[in-house]
């Protein structure tokens, strides 16, 4: 019984929500920046002068992790884990958990796919450095969905009142 009450504790559930947001979005970004970074390294091996341009492409899939971190931080502070706000009830804890899901999951998937789009963009820059803008645009389209995930997470979070 103690276990059941522990996992239905409002603060625990809020931490779980924050963890999902930070964990998955962070993993997505790590994978994405790794894929793009490997591709960039391939080009730099042959042509070190392209480092600056390629860094931009590698950074693009890094934003998901940042979004996940923001949501996680917000959830933690609303649940009173950072700072001294009121402690949420079990139901509110579940709400905060749910609020963490969109950016966590969308961040994970979009991070990886954005990494692949960025790696493909690296191929453009390898051959036609003047087309960097187009390469960025292709990869940046994937960003839209990470942003939408962030928005939904934020709206949900914003609507939850504790106390």
């Amino acid at each position: 019984m103690e276990f059941l009450s522990a996992i239905s504790d409002g603060q625990f559930l809020a931490i779980a929500g924050a963890a999902i947001a930070a964990l998955f979005a962070g993993m997505g970004s790590a994978k994405g920046t790794s894929i793009a970074g490997q591709a960039a390294a391939g080009v730099v091996t042959e042509d070190p002068g392209k480092f600056g341009q390629l860094l931009v492409l590698q950074l693009l899939p890094g934003t998901q992790g940042l979004y996940g971190f923001i949501i996680a931080f917000l959830i933690l502070s609303k649940a009173g884990i950072i700072g001294g706000a009121a402690v949420p009830t079990a139901a509110q804890g579940f709400q905060l958990l749910a609020a963490g899901l969109p950016i966590g999951l969308v961040g994970y998937v979009s991070g990886i796919y954005q990494g692949k789009a960025a790696a493909a963009g690296v191929g453009i820059v390898a051959k036609k450095p003047e087309e960097l803008g187009k390469a960025i645009t292709f990869a940046a389209i994937v960003e839209t969905y990470a942003l939408l995930g962030l928005l939904v997470s934020f709206l949900a979070y914003n609507g939850i009142t504790i106390g």
Binding site: I35, A36, Q38, A39, A40, A41, G42, V43, T45, E46, D47, K116, A119, A120, V122, G123, A126, K127
Partner: protein
């Protein structure tokens, strides 16, 4: 969800290297040059190492060095991948031909030995000497045995070539299958099919019977021997190849003669390989680069040899292959 393995680093490096591939336009310009020295200068410009300035006859070393360099880059990029062997087996089998013929004729064939096979030449030599092929790939051992057997029956050195060629293609097809990569499998099937089509035209032209064709028929293609059998009997073989991907090239090729047909076959494969240009993360661009480089070196060899023999630019240009870029 089984995800295909991705190689962002390797593909990106290949993308940069592709910039140094000679375009068809550059190749045609080389064909147009008056002096062979200008051709050699172009090669230096495109990253070929140690191009001789004075003695143009030394270009062969430059070309084989460039090819070895290409194999080395691919090996470095994807050491765990076996597909590169599909491009290397032809060197092994070339060496086997030389070694077997050396043995049966007693004439030294060292000058025909080529580097860059999957197995060291010494190992091949020893295996043949010991008649023990356990260290070699199974298909290779079988091909050597078959070659020796056919030779002892016929006393014809040509049978050694035939048996080993069949072995080479069987080995390629086998490796392609093991790679489980659709692009590699498609590539090998096309190479095998086109080899058979070339044999088909040549054998018919020489008025040989179907048995003679079946001798040189190689496995591993998509077109079965029965299609060739049906085509062999008719006056209009083009109809038999309708519906295959080769109908057009066969139709034009059978009218224009072998030189043109061979070029069309090379261009056909290049066309297939070019689809890899639009693939960003998986193996295909690496395979395509290997083929592109082999093809480029072949064309450069044609151009330089023709130049040395004072063949006119027009004729050289007819033989210039499609380029990857």
């Amino acid at each position: 969800m089984a995800e295909e393995k991705i190689y962002p680093y390797a593909v990106a490096r290949i993308r940069v290297l592709e910039k140094n591939l000679l375009s068809k336009q550059t190749l045609n310009q080389m064909a147009d040059e008056k002096e062979i020295e200008s051709c050699l200068r172009t090669l230096t410009e495109y990253g070929y190492d140690n191009v001789p300035e004075g003695n143009a006859r030394e270009f062969e070393q430059v070309l084989s060095a460039e090819l070895s360099k290409t194999y080395a880059v691919i090996r470095e990029l994807v050491p765990e991948e076996k597909f590169i062997n599909i491009f290397l087996y032809k060197n092994d089998y070339q060496n086997l031909k030389v070694l077997l013929k050396e043995e049966v004729s007693g004439i030294d064939g060292t000058q025909y030995i080529v580097q860059g096979g999957t197995e060291p030449v010494e190992k091949l030599k020893q295996s043949i000497l010991d008649r023990n092929y356990t260290d070699l790939p199974k298909i290779m051992g079988e091909a050597i045995e078959e070659a020796l057997e056919l030779y002892s029956k016929t006393q014809s050195g040509q049978m050694i070539d035939i048996a080993l060629d069949r072995g080479a293609f069987r080995q390629m097809a086998q490796s392609a299958k093991e790679s489980e990569n659709a692009f590699v499998i498609g590539y090998t099937a096309r190479v095998c099919d086109l080899t058979n089509l070339k044999s088909f035209l040549r054998m018919r032209h020489m008025n040989k019977d179907f048995g003679a064709f079946m001798n040189v028929f190689v496995e591993g293609g998509d077109i079965s021997s029965s299609v060739f059998f049906n085509a062999y009997g008719t006056d209009n073989p083009t109809d038999q190849f309708k519906g295959t991907r080769y109908d057009q090239i066969f139709e034009i090729g059978s009218e224009k003669g072998f030189t043109e047909f061979e070029k069309m076959c090379d261009d056909f494969i290049m066309d297939y390989v070019k689809s890899a240009k639009y693939i960003a993360l998986t193996l295909e661009p690496l395979i395509a680069y290997l083929y592109a480089k082999e093809s480029e070196i072949k064309t450069v060899r044609i151009i330089l040899t023709s130049k040395l023999n004072q063949i006119s630019s027009e004729i050289i240009k007819e033989r210039v292959r499609e380029a990857y870029v």
